[in-house]
Symmetry: C2
Subunit: 569 residues, 2 copies
C-alpha cells in the first residue's frame, strides 16, 4: 500500500465514485427514455471526458481523471478487472449443453451470423480501406479481419436479457437465438484472440492459432471436467459461500493471466473460464447471483463510463462513417441470420426476429472495438462508429422483436407503478369509499371519465369481493376504452371490508384496470400481486408507508423478487 | 486502459488470483486447526512474501509481486479499495440506535476499553521508546498516542461474528459487548484520524481535530438524515438492486475521498459512511448481503494476504517485543474492560467475558498498524508485533468466552458432518437394515460398541416411527456414554418405510446420537434438519448424490441457509 500517495488516493476514490454515480444516474435517465442503460452510462463517461468537461474545464478534468500517475494506473487496474469479470459473467451465461440439443438450426444461424458479416465486412475493408479509415501503420489483412469480426459479434448477455423481458427465454425461438449467439461468441472471440495474438509479432500466426485453439479445447474439456469435480469438494469443505465465490474469481483471473501469457488477450481466458464454470450444475444460483450483481451494478457501469472518458466522441464523430457502419453492420447481420434461419425452416417473421436479436452487440462490441483501437488496428473515428453500432443495435433489438413477434412485455408492477400511482394513508370507512378514491386516481391516469371507471369497478366488486386475504384487496375492471393497463395502489391504515375470505381488515388495495383487448394482462397482473403479497414483511412495510415514495419502494423491491421467482420457475 | 502493458496484465491477474486462492486455502486450514481464518490468510501472504518465496526464489518473487511498475500500482489500487470497503462494511455493522438504549454500562466499558490502554500504553511508549522500537524520525508524542490507540482498538466485526457463533448476539451480554465496541471504534478511529492528519504537517493539529470532528458530526447528523431520505427514493426510482448497490459504493468511496482530501485517512470517511448507511432502516438485507459477501469472500482475504506480502515477518520477528506487546495489550484491555463492566454491575464471569470479547482486534488492528508503519510512526518490528497481537487476541476471544460463560456452539449440521459421515446409495429393504448400516458407522465415529448404538436407536424407533414426511427420516438415540453429538447421513435410492406420516418412501436418513448430558443438542439438531428438509430442491439433490462429497455439499449449503434463517428470526 505504499505506491499511491495521499493525493493519488483522493483522486482515485473521487474519480471512481464520480464515474459510478454518474453512470447509474444517466443509465436510469436512458431507461426512462426507452433506451438501454448502457447508452446512458456511456454518456456519463462522455460528460466527464475530453468531449465535454475537458472542453469546459480542461484543468479540472485533468486533475480528476489524470492520464498518468498512480491514480490513472489505479483506475486502469479497476477497469481491466471489470472487463475480465464482465467476460467471465458473459461466459457464465453460455449453456453448452443446449448447443448439442439445438442442433442444425442453431449451427446455421450461428455460422451465418458470423461468416456473412466477416466475408462482406472483410471484403469491403480490404477494397475500401480509406473509407473506413484504416490507420497507415496497420496491416490490411488484420484490419479487414478485425472489421469483419466487429460487425459479426453478438452480445449473448444482452440477447438473454431481452428474451427474458419479452417472456421468450424458454421458448424454441429463445433457445435458438441463445444457442446461435453462443456459437457466434465462441468463434468470434476465438478469431479475435488469434488476431490480437498475431499482432504482437512475437510469434508466427500459426503458433497463435494453435495456442488459442489448444486453450479453448483444454478449457472446454479438461477444465470443464476439473471444475465440475472441484466445485462439490469446495462446497463440502471450504467456507460457504465465501469459498466458492473465491474459487470463481480465482479461476477467472488465473485464466485471464494464462491467456495473456500465451499472447492472446486476457479476456478470452476469462470468457473460457466463465463457460467452464457456468456449465457446472454444481455452481449454485446464490454464487452466480452475488457475482452478477457486483459485476452488473458496480463493475460494468464503471467500465462503460471509463470508455466515454477515453474517447473524444465530438471530435471523432464522422456522420458518413457512423452511418455506413450502422447500415452495413445491421444489413449483414440481420440479412445473414434471417436467411440462415429461413433455410433451417423458420417462417418469415420468426426468421426476421432471429436476425434482429442476433444484431444486438452490447458491451461485447464495445470491448472488441476498444481493444482493437488500443492495439492500433483502427482509428478513433472507427471506434466511435463501432460504439454507436453497438448501442443502436442493442437498443433496436427489443422493439423489433416485440413488433415482429407481436410480443408484449410481461406486465409487472415494477413497470406499471410510479410514485404518482401510490396513495398511502387513505381515509375510508367502506369498500366503496376506497374504490371511489382509487378509481378517480386511476381514471385520471388513464385519461378516462372517473364515473365510468368507478362504476365498472363497483360492478365487478358486487359480483364477488376481491379481498385476497392477509389484508390485501384487488378491485379491478376491464374497459373497452382503455389503451394499456393502469394500476394504482393505496393503503387504508384503519382497514376496510372487501369481503376477504379470512375476514382480516384490508389495509393494502391495488386497483387494476385492463383493456378488453388484452385478456392476458389482467391475469398476469393479478397473479403477480397475489404472489407478491405472500410476503408478510412486504405487506407490513407497504401498509406502514408514510408517503408515496416509501410505498413504491416497498413494492418495487418485491416486484423484482417476483420476477426472479418466475424466471426460476 | 492504455496504462498497463501486456506483461503488466499477466502479472496483475496472476498475482491477484494467486493471492486470493492461497488466502482461501490457508484460511480453511487455519479454521480446521481451530484458528480464525485471518491467521491462515496472513500466512498465505507470508508464503509469497519476502520471508519465504522471496528467500527461496527471489527473482520469481519479484516477478510475481513486483515493487514498482504498473502491476504493483494496480495491485495496490485493489488493496486500497479493499481496505476502504472493509471499513465501509465495519461501519455498516455499527448500530447507533442501540448506543442510546444501552446507556451507562456500555459507556463505561467502551470508555475504559479505550482510555486504560491509551493511558497505560501511551505512558509506557513515552517513557520507554527504545524498548518498543520508536523510529528515530518519529515524534515521541505521536508514537505514544499511536501505541495507545493500537492497544485500544476492538474489532467490531470480529466480536459480532463470535457472539453470533456462540448464540449470544441478541442477549444482554451480546448487546453490551457490541455497543461498547461501537463506542470504542468511533472514538479510536477519531483519535487515529486526527493523529494521521496531524502527521502530514500541512496544517496545525487543532485544525485537524476540528475538521475530523466536523466530518464525524456531519456524517452522523446531516449525512445520516440525507442517506435515509435518499434510499427510498433510489429504491423507488432506480433499477433494483443495482441502483442501491451503486449508491452504497458511491457514498463509501466519495466519503473516503472527502476524508483523504481534508487530510485525515480515507478509511475514516468510509467508516463514517458505513455507519450512516447501515443505520438507515431502508437499506435492505439483500444489498448488505451482496456487499458483505463480496468484501468477505474476495476483498478482505486479498487485503490480509497482501500485508503478508509486504512484511518480512521472519527478519522482523523479535520475540521479546512480540511477547511484551501481547502481554501488555491483553492485560490493559481485558483488565480495563472487565473492571468497567464490574463497576457497571455485571457479575464476575460475565465481566471477564466482556474483557476478552473487547480484546479481539482482528483486521482493524492490522489496518491501524499498517497505516502507522507506512506513515513512519513505527518500525516494521513493532508492526509485526501488532499483527501478532491482532491475530492472537481474535483467536483467543471465542474459546475464552465459551469457557467463561459455559457456552456451547449451537449444534448445526455444518459443524457435525464431514464426508466420512455421509453414506449415499445404501442398499436396504427395511427400516432396521438402514439403522444397522448407519448405526455401525455412527458407532465407529463415536468410538462406541456398534451393538449398543443400534439397539438404542431401534428401541427408540419402536416407540414411534421417525419419518418426518417428504421422504426424510431421523432415527435417533441419547446415550450416556457419548461425549458429544454424532450425526451420520445416508440415502436409500430404493426407499424404505420408517412409518412416515405421509406414507412417502424414505430416501434420506439422518441418524443422530446425542449425549444424555446435553438435552438441548438433540432438539437443536432435529429442529435444524426439519427446517432444512422443507426445501424440496435440497431433498432431491441430496437424494440424487452419487458420492459422499456431493451429499455433503448439498447439505452444507442448506446448513448455512438454515443458520441465516435462524439468525434472522
Amino acid at each position: 500500500m505504499g505506491e499511491l500517495t495521499s493525493a493519488d488516493l483522493t483522486v482515485f476514490f473521487l474519480g471512481l465514485s464520480t464515474l459510478l454515480g454518474a453512470a447509474h444516474l444517466c443509465g436510469e435517465i436512458a431507461r426512462r427514455l426507452g433506451q438501454p442503460a448502457v447508452v446512458g452510462e456511456m454518456v456519463a463517461g462522455l460528460a466527464f471526458g475530453p468531449s465535454c468537461l475537458g472542453w469546459l474545464l480542461p484543468e479540472f478534468q485533468q486533475w480528476l481523471f489524470p492520464h498518468q500517475g498512480g491514480a490513472a494506473v489505479g483506475l486502469d487496474a479497476i477497469v481491466v478487472l471489470a472487463v475480465a469479470l464482465l467476460l467471465l459473467v458473459a461466459g457464465m451465461e453460455v449453456d453448452l449443453s443446449t448447443v448439442w440439443r439445438q442442433g442444425k438450426a442453431a449451427l446455421y444461424v450461428g455460422l451465418a451470423g458470423l461468416l456473412v458479416p466477416l466475408a462482406v465486412g472483410g471484403a469491403l475493408a480490404w477494397f475500401m480501406p480509406q473509407w473506413w479509415g484504416m490507420p497507415a501503420e496497420a496491416s490490411p489483412w488484420q484490419f479487414a479481419v478485425f472489421f469483419g469480426v466487429a460487425l459479426a459479434i453478438s452480445a449473448l448477455p444482452v440477447i438473454a436479457k431481452i428474451l427474458m423481458d419479452l417472456d421468450l427465454f424458454k421458448t424454441d425461438f429463445g433457445m435458438l437465438a441463445l444457442v446461435s449467439a453462443t456459437i457466434n461468441n465462441l468463434l468470434a472471440w476465438l478469431i479475435f484472440s488469434v488476431l490480437m495474438g498475431a499482432s504482437e509479432e512475437r510469434q508466427p500466426i500459426l503458433h497463435t492459432v494453435v495456442l488459442t485453439l489448444a486453450l479453448a479445447v483444454a478449457f472446454l474439456t479438461v477444465g470443464r471436467w476439473a471444475i465440475n469435480r472441484a466445485l462439490p469438494w469446495i462446497q463440502a469443505h471450504l467456507e460457504w459461500p465465501g469459498g466458492v465465490l473465491g474459487f470463481v474469481i480465482v479461476v477467472g483471473l488465473a485464466s485471464a493471466a494464462a491467456a495473456e501469457a500465451i499472447g492472446i488477450h486476457a479476456i478470452f481466458g476469462a470468457f473460457l473460464a466463465g463457460i467452464a464454470l457456468g456449465d457446472s450444475p454444481h455452481l449454485r444460483e446464490h454464487v452466480r447471483h452475488v457475482v452478477y450483481r457486483f459485476v452488473e451494478g458496480i463493475l460494468a457501469p464503471i467500465f462503460v463510463a471509463a470508455i466515454g472518458l477515453e474517447v473524444n466522441f465530438v471530435a471523432n464523430f464522422h456522420p458518413g462513417l457512423v452511418l455506413s457502419v450502422l447500415l452495413l453492420g445491421t444489413a449483414v447481420k440481420v440479412l445473414g441470420c434471417s436467411w440462415a434461419a429461413r433455410l433451417a425452416g423458420l417462417r418469415g417473421t420468426e426468421a426476421w426476429g432471429i436476425g434482429w436479436a442476433m444484431n444486438a452487440r452490447g458491451e461485447l462490441g464495445i470491448v472488441l472495438g476498444l481493444l482493437a483501437w488500443e492495439a492500433g488496428f483502427i482509428r478513433e473515428r472507427l471506434f466511435v462508429a463501432l460504439v454507436v453500432l453497438a448501442l443502436a443495435t442493442s437498443g433496436a433489438a427489443g422493439p423489433m422483436l416485440k413488433r415482429l413477434l407481436r410480443r408484449e412485455l410481461t406486465w409487472s408492477l415494477g413497470t406499471l407503478l410510479d410514485a404518482r400511482a401510490c396513495n398511502p394513508g387513505l381515509i375510508a370507512r367502506t369498500t366503496a369509499d376506497v374504490i371511489h378514491q382509487l378509481g378517480s386516481l386511476a381514471a385520471e391516469r388513464a385519461g378516462l371519465d372517473s364515473r365510468t371507471v368507478i362504476d365498472a369497478v363497483l360492478d365487478r366488486e358486487s359480483l364477488m369481493g376481491t379481498g385476497l386475504g392477509h389484508g390485501v384487496a384487488v378491485p379491478h375492471a376491464r374497459l373497452a376504452e382503455l389503451r394499456s393497463p393502469v394500476v394504482v395502489v393505496g393503503t387504508v391504515p384503519a382497514g376496510v371490508g372487501f369481503e376477504a375470505l379470512d375476514d382480516t381488515p384490508v389495509r393494502l388495495v391495488f386497483l387494476i384496470l385492463t383493456p378488453e383487448s388484452e385478456p392476458v394482462a389482467q391475469i398476469q397482473i393479478l397473479r403477480g400481486i397475489a404472489h407478491l403479497c405472500q410476503d408478510s414483511q412486504l405487506r407490513e412495510e407497504a401498509t406502514a408507508s408514510q408517503n408515496p415514495t416509501a410505498l413504491l419502494a416497498a413494492l418495487r423491491v418485491a416486484g423484482t423478487l417476483e420476477k426472479s421467482a418466475v424466471a426460476q420457475a
